[in-house]
């Protein structure tokens, strides 16, 4: 257990908290009216929130939600973006031009603006939040894959495979994809950090999972309201979120340096 590995430990903690919470919820929605905004104690390690609910199990439930969202969205958008990027970069021509035009349009909406808009019109709720994030976050993977494929397409081993009669899917999967796995992994790590923030931002705006169920964004919003009389609430949630994002970003930096990916 080396201190240098702290980002991995934080990620592990996040995963375990989510896992434990999905096995046992510890009554995260139970209300103690006599203990509203109570400070941390031995019985309630992280204190209680504005409705007298135990913050620790709610924090774990929030970890579960964010893990679920990040896992699902990353899986969907990475596969979608990689496939589109492979096809676009490999075939070129009008397919490539059309796809790049579409990504340009998506990139014209800064940050999570488009996700906010889609989540808003689709209506609040977890599945719509996931859908909104899926619609808007595949672009990075597609652009990166396409760019990498373009530079690999004329490599000798690819040309050799072509002249030996290897099928196009085989060339893409066996001869191109392994070579671009490193930059894609780095991209996925950074994109996960952005997704953690995006999920929390949307729930902060009331667009994510609905009350009484816990999410970090919604908890932060409630915590901010009572930050003068019960700073423990907002601090616990904010510091958790911050350490997770920090851990993922540091992990991304280390992966980038170790795998020698530029940019």
């Amino acid at each position: 257990m080396r201190i240098k590995n702290w980002p991995v430990w934080i990620l592990g903690l996040w995963f375990v908290a989510g896992l434990v919470s999905s096995l046992n919820d510890f009554n995260s929605n139970q209300i103690h009216l006599d203990l509203i905004l109570e400070k941390p104690s031995f019985q309630y390690l992280l204190g209680l929130d504005d409705l007298g609910r135990d913050i620790l199990p709610r924090l774990m439930a929030g970890a579960r939600v964010s893990f679920l969202v990040i896992f699902l969205v990353t899986t969907v958008t990475a596969s979608m973006g990689i496939i589109l990027g492979l096809v676009s970069g490999y075939y070129g021509g009008w397919i490539d031009r059309t796809l790049m035009q579409i990504t340009d349009i998506f990139l014209a909406f800064p940050g999570i603006l488009l996700a906010i808009a889609f989540a808003a019109v689709l209506g609040a709720g977890l599945s719509n939040l996931i859908l909104a994030l899926c619609i808007t976050s595949w672009v990075g993977y597609a652009r990166l894959t396409r760019g990498q494929v373009l530079s690999l397409r004329q490599r000798q081993h690819v040309v050799a495979a072509q002249s030996l009669g290897a099928s196009t899917p085989r060339i893409m999967l066996k001869h191109i994809l392994p070579l671009i796995a490193a930059p894609l992994l780095v991209e996925a790590t950074y994109s996960m950090a952005a997704l953690v923030i995006a999920e929390a931002s949307l729930s902060f705006l009331g667009l994510g999972i609905q009350a009484p169920n816990a999410s970090w964004g919604a908890m932060l919003r409630d915590g901010v309201r009572y930050m003068l009389i019960a700073p423990h609430y907002v601090l616990v949630v904010g510091l958790s979120l911050m350490s997770l994002v920090l851990a993922v970003n540091v992990l991304g930096d280390r992966l980038r340096d170790q795998l020698d990916v530029r940019g």
């Binding site: 340009d104 800064p110 950090a193 911050m242």
Partner: protein, 303 residues
Amino acid sequence: MIKRLLGIIPVVFGVISLTFFLIHAVPGDPVEVMLGESASNADRMEIRAELGLDQSIYVQFGVYLNKLVHGDLGVSIHSRKPIMDMLEERLPATFKLAALALLFAILCGLPLGIIAAINAKKWPDQLANLLSLTVSAMPHFWMGPMLMMVFALWLGILPVSGMENATSIILPALTLGFGLAAILTRMTRASMLEVLNEDYIRTAYAKGLPEHTVILRHALRAALMPIITVLGLQLGSLLAGAVITETIFSWDGIGWLLVESIEKRDYLVTQACVLVVALVYVIVNLFTDLIYTKIDPRVRFLK
């Protein structure tokens, strides 16, 4: 340059189409969702006719485009005011906020990045790295309340929220600017490090020029190019960040208008806000590209 100008036409068209499509992503009948159950049938018919929802989607799109060209974004369902007027009222506040945030980010990020690059791998560099990493991990809705807690509630030297005082802008601008300052620090450091290894920097030192002249005149000028590109791209994140920052600090800009419209299900206003922010972003990026070609002779000669 003309090619670049023409290049944004399909993007602008795509942006307009996508925001037009937004209203149709509403599950069920958008009029029903927007007006709620208490609305009268007459109201419903009126809105439906106003939006052209009784016609085919192609006609609707045509009408939408035509109105847009004439600067007509429709009328808010909630306040019955023209949306264009609402945007005109709110946009200056957002621009003011973004400009101050940008200024803060430059004043903070550039010097920090330069100091980090000159002292690469020593403690000032590591400190700057730690700072920028930590700040990058603080989303606006966490940074904002923290600043509010320290400066407005504990120290009591700045207003909590609103925009009545001249100093009201400071906290939201800091909230918005910190993230960009962190990115700028990293960018400046990387860019400066690359330039500092060039031969002409060694030559400048060998000529006996003082260090600040070499750093500021010779190195920074060359390092500035990639920084400007990043700034242009990041201006968009300022606009997106304004949505949450303005909501936290009750800053009466377009971001808060967007959130309000979502809460009131006034989706035409939502649509218009998203469209305007995206268009501003496209234009800013176009200008960044043009400035880039203007000040970097290498880019010009390549053409």
